[in-house]
Symmetry: C2
Subunit: 339 residues, 2 copies
DNA sequence: CCTCCGCGTGCTAACGTTAGCACTGCCTGG
DNA sequence: CCAGGCAGTGCTAACGTTAGCACGCGGAGG
């Protein structure tokens, strides 16, 4: 690799002069700058950021720590983030935790060793105490899920309100046996969504046994399929389904298609997230649309400001809109179409 | 940030000893090692990889340079790659080019400055000459698209064969007006897929005007919609459609659903890629399935070997299977279902 | 004529880590 | 009893870049 020293030797000048010329320092004559730049270009010089970092400069890398990039919500976030950061000269590091706190910890160690400038993280249910320590030392922002030990810098969705609205939509249509399939209560989002589901039932004046919650790994398509299979076998199968994660929704839709369940006649369904494909599934999936782009640009802007301004910026958190209910054809009063 | 020096001062020993203790050097007494490790853990020491890199060590970061992470093919690749690399202690850097050679160049400059250990890239149609220079200096592997100036390390799909099979399937059913909607010929993949399309027509003994190619940005869902709209307005609209990219397929499916086009009665469709949702679209989408996981693990393994072994490893390239045609309900002889 | 100033450049140290070499005791074999 | 070796540790230089300080030179003002 070419260094400033190589350039200096070739031009018969000092390393300092080369460095200053490349930094466009006002003290260097235009002629020298020109010669240095020319030589640098010819020799294919690329500054070594590791060396620069050792002089106290911070890195230009920001990490995104998420469960799984294949989840289209996260890939959308990654995309927006990447776009925003690139414009500011930052690079994006991608770390997948697979919702495993040990993997999360390993990643955080590496990110820390690499001295990333900032971290945007969707934390696992109960981050390892070392993970907490590591995060504390770096500007970070929690996304979606919020774990109290990680501070109050959080950017999320009003999960409670989102599921409340989704469920209320079914209650309003007269359903009295509604199942919720979502993530575990250990996850903050899981807990909130379940609470929203329960709130809607209660507000609708339904008895306690009207609702039924099936909780499990939220990132597993297979789990969605199995759960819906189990539910349908039940003699007192629900007449409506509310879903609490994108992956679960994908799994459930596949299974319902495959089993030829008539929606909404036999079963009403409200999904979570809005993927390409949800609009053309069966009669069109009624679903909770999420403000992905707003969230991603919000995150990017927050982090950029946090990294460029000196004082330990600390707006406590920003909750984004609860998501909008997109009503399509997959919901109807129990027993058939028509209200 | 805590450094080895801090630990050394606290324990009243030298920096070298601390360094060696942490590296588990055999010359250091067990007792000293223990004290150093304890102190390091207590103080939250994390080695600075930038400093280590300056001593000649290479970085543990590998970059993935792709057009758009939201494309599920790329997110699947990113996932597999990330999983494989994490196991080896590597981190993944994500760079999106948006198929813009200038953005690509900017990213490559940054990656180069950060001294990434390796790069896996889906190059733009005509990479900037500086991009070529930069890539030459780093172990890299082309994915899917292959640009001659970037060397022969390539991991891809047999695009010609994939599209040939897809088209042949339609020809076999008797279609004589077939349209291909795909990426531009400037992209190696675009050229190959178009060639495959043409080959199948020729092999089927169809006249030159049987086929019609509509080329445009492959990553644009909107372009897929517009193209199909335009095709349907044509008095001599095709009776079958072959698609040449995942995003275009998504767009086309949405438009066909929205317009209520009867598939396969009015139009047969063969898609590209196999997304969740393709199976439940209309009568089920006949499509070209891609060996995503095999490719991703293949890439990861190649790169790992390339990075860990000394000699400039140079298997010229590896072409993966042509993709398997997944036959569902969206294809039938012209004019209706049934053969 | 001398001093002072500013322009352009060079020297040197520093960042955190690592590796080569040197040093100090102590123990063993001749 | 002495030489040599080894275990355990310290000193120092080096990686590439940058910033503070110093230096030389020429011109302007006293």
């Amino acid at each position: 690799m070419i260094t400033t020293r190589d350039i200096a030797e070739r031009l018969g000048i000092s390393v300092s002069t080369v460095g200053r010329a490349l930094a466009d320092d006002s003290r260097i004559s235009e002629e020298t700058k020109f010669r240095v730049r020319q030589a640098a270009a010819e020799m294919g010089y690329v500054a070594n950021r590791a060396a620069r970092m050792m002089r106290g400069a911070s890195s230009n890398v920001v990490a995104l720590v998420i469960p799984d990039i294949r989840n289209s919500f996260y890939s959308a976030i990654a995309h927006e983030l990447s776009k925003n950061m690139e414009a500011q000269g930052y690079q994006l590091m991608l770390s997948e935790t697979d919702d495993d706190r040990m993997v999360e910890l390993r990643h955080l160690r590496e990110l820390s060793a690499n001295r990333v400038a900032g971290i945007i993280i969707v934390p696992t249910a109960r981050p390892h105490s070392d993970s907490v320590k590591l995060l504390r030392a770096v500007p970070h922002l929690q996304l979606l899920r919020r774990h109290p030990s990680l501070g109050s810098q959080w950017f999320g969705v009003d999960d409670h309100e989102a599921l409340r609205r989704a469920t209320a939509h079914l209650v309003a249509q007269g359903h009295t046996r509604i199942a919720y399939v979502g993530g575990p209560v250990e996850l903050p989002t899981g807990a909130e969504r379940l609470r929203g589901f329960r709130s809607a039932l209660q507000e609708g004046g339904l008895p306690d046994d009207a609702g039924r919650a099936e909780l499990g790994p939220p990132a597993s398509l297979a789990h969605g399929r199995e759960t819906v299979r189990r539910l349908l076998e039940d003699p007192r199968a629900p007449t409506a389904l509310v879903l609490g994660s994108i992956q679960l929704t994908l799994g459930v839709l596949e299974e319902l298609s495959q089993q030829g369940v008539k929606v909404p006649e036999e079963l009403s369904v409200v999904g979570f997230g809005d993927e390409p494909g949800f609009s053309w599934w069966g009669p069109g999936l009624t679903t909770v649309g999420l403000p992905i782009e707003e969230m991603a640009t919000g995150c990017a802007l927050w982090l950029m400001r946090r990294l460029t301004t000196k004082p330990s910026n600390d707006g406590p958190y920003t909750s984004v809109s609860p998501g909008s209910l997109v009503v399509r054809g997959s919901t109807a009063p129990p027993g058939g179409r028509q209200a």
